[in-house]
Symmetry: C2
Subunit: 500 residues, 2 copies
């Protein structure tokens, strides 16, 4: 059995090597690659994805998993070995349903669609993107078909990002959440909005970036094992625990964007850096699911980064960097300003009270596209209608509407809902943290993030993908994904700010 | 046959995709990768190299080549198809001798050795690098052993960089060249050296980089299909004709380094960008050999970049950028300054009259290491002894001695002599250019590099690796590699500068 486990691990290590290489190629494509490289990059990605898929779904892997299964059932259930077999078996059964040629085509088409989207967004040209998106949607529907019979066509897609969770469960959670979010938003809408005009003056880019780096360095982001670059759409990409890269974007007149974006991505990055290095070169590296990943990014961005204790420590430093912009703005005014609630067009810049509505909009559209009840050509109209309904806004162009997000170009259907779920989980984790670390807020107000990061490392990060995500959430928070803690958090915070 | 050719092309396309991915990973390792990524990168490179090798040396490829061979012999010999079969068959027969496990180990070990070298060079610590270099040397000797029987142990290594050329031929060329170079150097040593102190004052880095970009943009380097980054050791890496990247390094007190380094790498880059895109995803992309590659880089760096016509166009612009540094330096003084001959420690910064001596030194040491007559531990001593003998200098530390070059860490034994050969070929090509373009110097003095680049594209670049390098050199220059044109060039140029 030891020999068979070693054989399996050797094959999986190579699969993970190829996936890491794919990660580097994808990262490069979004950060640095010159336009002329797009065609070749699509081929490279397609070929490597196909090879990784063939290797992973080989009969040899299947036989080894079958042979090892009974033995692994006797191993301590939380041991690396038992978790490896359980996780790999689940993934093997899924991937075995997908032909390698499909994987190659999917990867190549989405690589090209990404490049087309990048240009289309820059010129707000949905018509230019439509043919590519139609190909992507067709591919994703074909992908779902490999998993028939399913309860819902969207289930197989969701499962790739949130293993084990069903579309019906997400709908149930959102159905509880939506009226509460809407009610909170209506209560806030009746109040005077805090001033935040000081955020939209000129902040030199370099100083913004330096401050962001200073913050996340203090959080505990490890620069020996990571870097920060620029991309149109910020993201985090971890190739192994030794090389985890975040990206950001910066605009002189929008200082919130780089600042909170950097904290957000650092939250993802510290998760990947915090996985037990013993899991490197196994399929268990990386986060357990996208909701768990997003719980980490949103926790650092919002629960920490938009809190009073955080700014009581960092605001004097920010004022020192930007004396003409913030010298006359009090801490309290700044805190209210960065927590101003206001429906807006761009998801990544949305405040905590409206963010989830952006997600619900996308989830409904995705489901409709997958069900076939919505055609790609009608997407801008459907988008704008829902924006009007949910947020009372009409995008002035498609760049600030249906084209704003990168996900669909890359074929990431099933991904969006995990952003809202991540918000919920972040608040669940925060309540667990507060119970375990009574001095949490005091630590933060002193710029001491070590107890917080250590707790997250111990409870969440180090496990990588060892546990099923719903199981891990239960281990950490005591329950499955539930909206109450997040609504408690929002109500308390914004009740105070808005005197509700 | 058409079907079999398509089958072969499909496999080769995937092999080339993997090699391109390897190129991206290697480029990233040398430019951006955080230190923590070194271990994982070694595994990724090793795994991909092994897969590419297995795929390329598969029985299927062997069978297809065998089936296609007789037919291809009937195709027009210069056709893409005939060249593809000829080139691939030669490479197949070579790679077939090398076990895939060796390829994996070699790639992984050299990836790690590169990281160790980077640190060792920074601290001038040969002892820290020695164990890694011993592994690399042992691997390279093992590699040579796969090609027994050979005339010389160094032949198989040389063949990887300069296909078809033998160690004895290189020695013959160098034996003709050495006394002529030494005689020229002695004649120059008796003369007064031109002043070049103005080159070693402070030149702001950004302005240096901007000027370098301006120059190579005018040369014809295509930024839509390329980029420039930083690395410890400048290099060029082309992943396909759409994505060709150069690197540079810059020091405020050494303006020659970034300037001529950038022109040099752009020479490599324009070669890769100039290959016929129809050869993308075939093994025929990229340059025909390292000597041909180096002929291009040295041509742009020296024949163009250190010439009077070039500076008669660009010097006013350079003075405008650096008025305090160069405002009082005449064009003639500047020209003589950048062409000052003086034995120096660093190969990449060596002048045209001493450069080849740096190469001869390395070639002798490499051959001795491969023959087993020199041990790695004795390398610094042997290096310093030859530096004293050939150039009259003793390195103050190993960073400026035996550790200066990246090549050995990466296992590039067999590479160095192509630098000197490239110098010779650059002068051969230049004589052919002058015969074909009577206005060549006038064009250059007007900042018009189009006729020059077009000629190189037509005669050299577009062919990629279609022709055997010695054959291509003969097609372009009328003879094989020969030292006379280079010595004619040096004698004329430095005879004028030094009044010999």
């Amino acid at each position: 059995m030891v020999e068979k486990l070693d054989q399996l691990k050797a094959i999986l290590a190579e699969v993970v090597d190829i996936r890491s290489a794919l990660g580097v190629l994808g990262w490069d494509q979004e950060t640095l690659m010159p336009p002329g490289g797009a065609l070749g990059r699509g081929y490279q990605l397609g070929t490597l994805a196909k090879i990784a898929h063939e290797k992973f779904t080989s009969d040899e892997v299947g036989q080894l998993l079958e042979d090892l299964g009974p033995a692994a059932a006797q191993w301590p259930p939380d041991s690396d070995g038992a978790c490896l077999i359980r996780f790999t078996l689940r993934e093997y059964r899924k991937q075995k349903r997908v032909p390698s040629d499909y994987v190659e085509e999917d990867t190549r088409v989405t690589s090209n669609a990404y490049s087309v989207w990048e240009k289309a967004k820059a010129t707000s040209d949905f018509a230019g993107f439509q043919p590519e998106l139609e190909k992507v949607v067709a591919l994703r529907r074909r992908y779902a078909s490999f998993f028939q019979p399913y309860t819902h066509v969207y289930d197989p897609l969701l499962d790739d990002y949130e293993p084990g969770l069903k579309t019906a469960e997400v709908k149930d959670i959102f159905n509880v959440l939506r009226p509460q979010q809407v009610a909170l938003l209506q209560a806030i809408a009746e109040k005077t909005r805090p001033d935040n005009s000081f955020l939209y003056v000129n902040y030199p880019e370099k100083d913004q970036l330096d401050f962001g780096k200073e913050v996340i360095t203090r959080f505990g982001f490890d620069w020996e094992r990571g870097r920060e670059d620029f991309s149109v759409h910020p993201f985090t990409s971890g190739f192994n625990t030794g090389d985890v890269r975040i990206t950001t974007r910066v605009e002189p007149q929008q200082m919130e964007m780089a600042l909170f974006g950097t904290m957000h991505e650092a939250g993802h990055g510290m998760y990947e850096q915090g996985v037990d290095p013993a899991l490197d070169r196994t399929p268990l590296i990386g986060g357990a699911s996208m909701a768990l990943h997003e719980s980490q990014s949103r926790l650092w961005e919002n629960l920490v980064g938009r809190s009073r204790p955080f700014w009581s420590f960092f605001y004097p430093r920010l004022q020192q960097l930007f004396p003409s912009q913030l010298g006359n703005v009090s801490l309290d005014t700044f805190y209210r300003g960065i927590n101003r609630i206001e429906p807006s067009l761009i998801r990544t810049e949305a405040d905590e009270a409206t963010y989830n509505l952006h997600i619900m909009l996308r989830l409904e559209l995705e489901i409709a596209l997958m069900e076939g009840s919505l055609e790609v050509k009608d997407l801008p109209e459907a988008w704008n209608a829902r924006m009007k309904e949910y947020l009372g806004l009409t995008p002035p162009d498609n760049a600030r509407g249906v084209l704003q997000d990168v996900h669909w170009s890359q074929g990431y259907f099933g991904y969006f809902s995990t952003y809202a779920l991540g918000n919920l989980v972040s608040a669940q984790i925060w309540e667990a943290l507060q119970a375990d670390i009574p001095d949490l807020e005091k630590n933060i107000s002193e710029g001491n993030f070590k107890p917080l990061l250590s707790w997250l490392r111990e409870k969440v990060h180090r496990h990588g993908s060892k546990f099923e995500p719903q199981d891990l959430i239960r281990r950490v928070t005591g329950t499955g994904i539930t909206p109450e803690p997040y609504m408690r958090y929002l109500t308390a915070k914004y009740g105070e700010i808005y005197h509700l």
